[in-house]
Amino acid sequence: MKTRDLAYVALFAALVAVLGLVPPVPVAGFPVPITAQTLGVMLAGSVLGARRGGLALLVFLAVVAVGAPVLSGGRGGLSVFAGPTAGFLYSWPVAAFVVGALTQLTWRRFNLAWSLLANLAGGVVVIYAIAIPLTTFFADVSLATSFTSSMTFVPGDIVKGVLASVVAVAVHKAYPVIELPARRRPVTG
């Protein structure tokens, strides 16, 4: 890893933290105000790509673990890793990695549709696929209960997925960070 990558990882870990400090923002046409933290998970993957995005979220979790109260609602410390919502935390690095991997796959023809696919698959499906079974374990409830109670957050997460995609496309044009290995050109002439 180059120092540039270290800086990206550290800055996006900090960005996810700051998005947790931003007070919940009301979204037009949606009853519950949403917090911006999972938006940061999706953005880390969409902007930095799989490896750096996943690492940024691992670093974020390390920062939470060493006692920075940077989860939404001012939570932090080791206690959140045993709490009832811990499953969501563990899913974030994987989610950022998957968002990044899907973004890299479609980077050459990147547009809003591909971005939506990456953010909804990685940022919503992956998060719940990991968080729901883990919640079942931590909170000792059945899979079905855990599933239905989690579903209340899905509409908010879809809103965030759309937001992240719009932002990701804007950043793709303005300040592309993901670099793909140069495609080998066929030798002509």
């Binding site: 120092t3 540039r4 870990a13 923002v25 920075a68 890793f81 045993a82 932002v167 950043v171 960070v177």
Partner: protein, 211 residues
């Protein structure tokens, strides 16, 4: 902006090595999930409170501040258990989580951030064999802790500027300029790190002393 849950008081719990405290915490977590007995969980809860409030000299409000955000979840969990299983299982699940949350809060409040970062570095030291330098992990965590107030300040500035122009309080209009600023910061940070030789291979210890 204070960015630590550490609560400095002179006590034996504070002086205990952070690695040891983390090890005890991890062992407690495994124990409570492997042996789900209410008396064991109750004993552990009393023990954690005794260590935190008694031996560690932490004020009640420090622990309360950590537990309060979780309470609503615990209450909801208990209600779910009343509906789906029974009160005994519910009491066990709730008290187990409460105990672990409190134990972790005690570790966090009695250990300095720098000590915990050292422990993270030590835990990551086996990664040396796959080409990761543990010192860099410490560096990245330290950088992140420094960047949080910096980015928060940028975010506040963007909000102020938009409020002054009578702009809407929408998330997109905050996030796009913030992201661009963050990417620019990454650029300057990387240059600053390179200028200080952060990318160089560390010299072998013996040779460094000779210079």
């Amino acid at each position: 902006m204070t960015l630590a849950l550490y609560h400095p008081v002179p006590s034996p719990v504070h002086r205990a090595p952070a690695g040891l405290k983390l090890l005890v915490l991890a062992a407690l977590g495994v124990l409570l999930f492997v042996v789900p007995r209410l008396y064991l969980v109750g004993g552990a809860l009393a023990g954690v409170l005794a260590v935190g409030l008694g031996l560690g000299g932490l004020p009640v409000r420090v622990l309360w501040a950590q537990v309060r955000p979780v309470l609503i979840w615990l209450a909801a969990l208990f209600v779910v258990h009343l509906l789906v299983t029974d009160a005994a299982t519910g009491a066990l699940a709730v008290s187990r989580l409460l105990t672990l949350v409190l134990a972790a809060a005690v570790v966090t409040a009695t250990s300095r951030v720098t000590e915990l970062v050292d422990v993270v570095e030590r835990i990551c030291s086996p990664l040396r064999w796959v080409g990761v330098r543990p010192a860099r992990i410490g560096l990245v965590i330290a950088m992140t802790l420094r960047f949080i107030p910096l980015i928060a300040e940028r975010a506040a500035r963007i909000r102020e500027a938009q409020a002054a122009r009578g702009g809407a309080r929408r998330l997109t209009v905050l996030v796009v300029p913030l992201l661009v600023q963050v990417l620019q910061m990454a650029h300057t940070t990387a240059e600053a790190l390179d200028a200080r030789g952060a990318d160089d291979e560390p010299l072998p210890r013996r040779r460094r002393r000779d210079r």
